[in-house]
Symmetry: C2
Subunit: 182 residues, 2 copies
């Protein structure tokens, strides 16, 4: 399974393509950043991000897109502009008929480091270690994007309660009842 | 000049195409809404909005796109999701090589009604009146989108200080000096 992880941003959008299986080995295929200039108008920057992500999908042919969810900064304006960038990234994935998964920052940290309160440095350390790299991918946006891809691959290692219940529904044709003994 | 006004939203995106000149007559060419289903995932809804806006541009061949700026609601999540929808709309305009203009809600109200504190009903009343319609466009998102297009056309009626200074710079080859006598 090849997963293209994306860490969205208007100035720097990180990307990291990771190949791996939930219980198998993991390998970094490629990572980097898409840069746009603050001197350009927002529509121009959005077009560049959209075209570059579309070109990455076309070239790398991933099986899934994993996109970091919005980080709610104190500056609402920054968060909303980030939403614009995420919009065109989700669009690029959908147009390529890829399953698009969204992961909140805490979930990515939990999947990669083991705790949702992990620092940026801990995430980068684990990305470098899990992918057996000599140095941490730079800039950090590229490492963060690889972390999103890793989070998607590794989240499949731990079956979720919802998945088990869904499987039970499919197999038994009944919905498990919650909150009372049956 | 034909202006396509857009009032972005994930569930309902209003559009209104208005033909007019800053000091000439105004006419509504077409208005309506793009609806997406809350049952669909966000990437699917973004693709629908993007494709529908792109198709409108292709069919109507406007000279400019005027998009309402984000309304900062108390629910930050709502505002951020709205940012995603705006992102794919700005992208559609940019890809069609259209000038894309963004107007904050208060500026639209000021241009159409005369005050930035106008109510929704006052805006709809003036849209109906300025475009000489028998009834107010419905749903209100369509009327709001027509208001954005009107705001763009009518904002050209009042030259802005910046424009005058810019014209002075072009004519005289000098930048006007502010804040001190020369």
């Amino acid at each position: 399974m090849l997963v293209l992880g994306i860490d969205p941003g208007t100035a720097l959008t990180g990307y990291g393509a990771v190949r791996g299986e939930p219980f198998g080995s993991l390998a970094l295929v490629e990572c980097g950043v898409i840069r746009t200039s603050a001197r350009d108008r927002l529509p121009v920057r959005l077009r560049e991000i959209y075209e570059d992500v579309s070109a990455l999908i076309e070239r790398l042919q991933p099986d899934a897109l994993a996109v970091e969810d919005v980080f709610y900064s104190r500056n609402v304006r920054t968060t909303v502009v980030l939403g614009h960038a995420r919009g065109v990234i989700l669009l690029a994935g959908e147009q390529a008929h890829l399953p698009v998964h969204e992961y909140p920052p805490a979930e990515i940290k939990k999947a990669v480091v083991g705790t949702g309160a992990a620092t940026k440095e801990q995430v980068q350390f684990m990305v470098t270690r899990l992918l057996r790299l000599r140095t941490t991918p730079s800039p950090s946006d590229a490492a963060d994007a690889a972390a999103v891809a890793l989070a998607h691959i590794m989240s499949a290692r731990v079956p979720r309660l919802g998945d088990i219940e869904h499987a039970a529904t499919l197999t038994l044709g009944v919905r498990p009842v919650r909150g009372r003994k049956v």
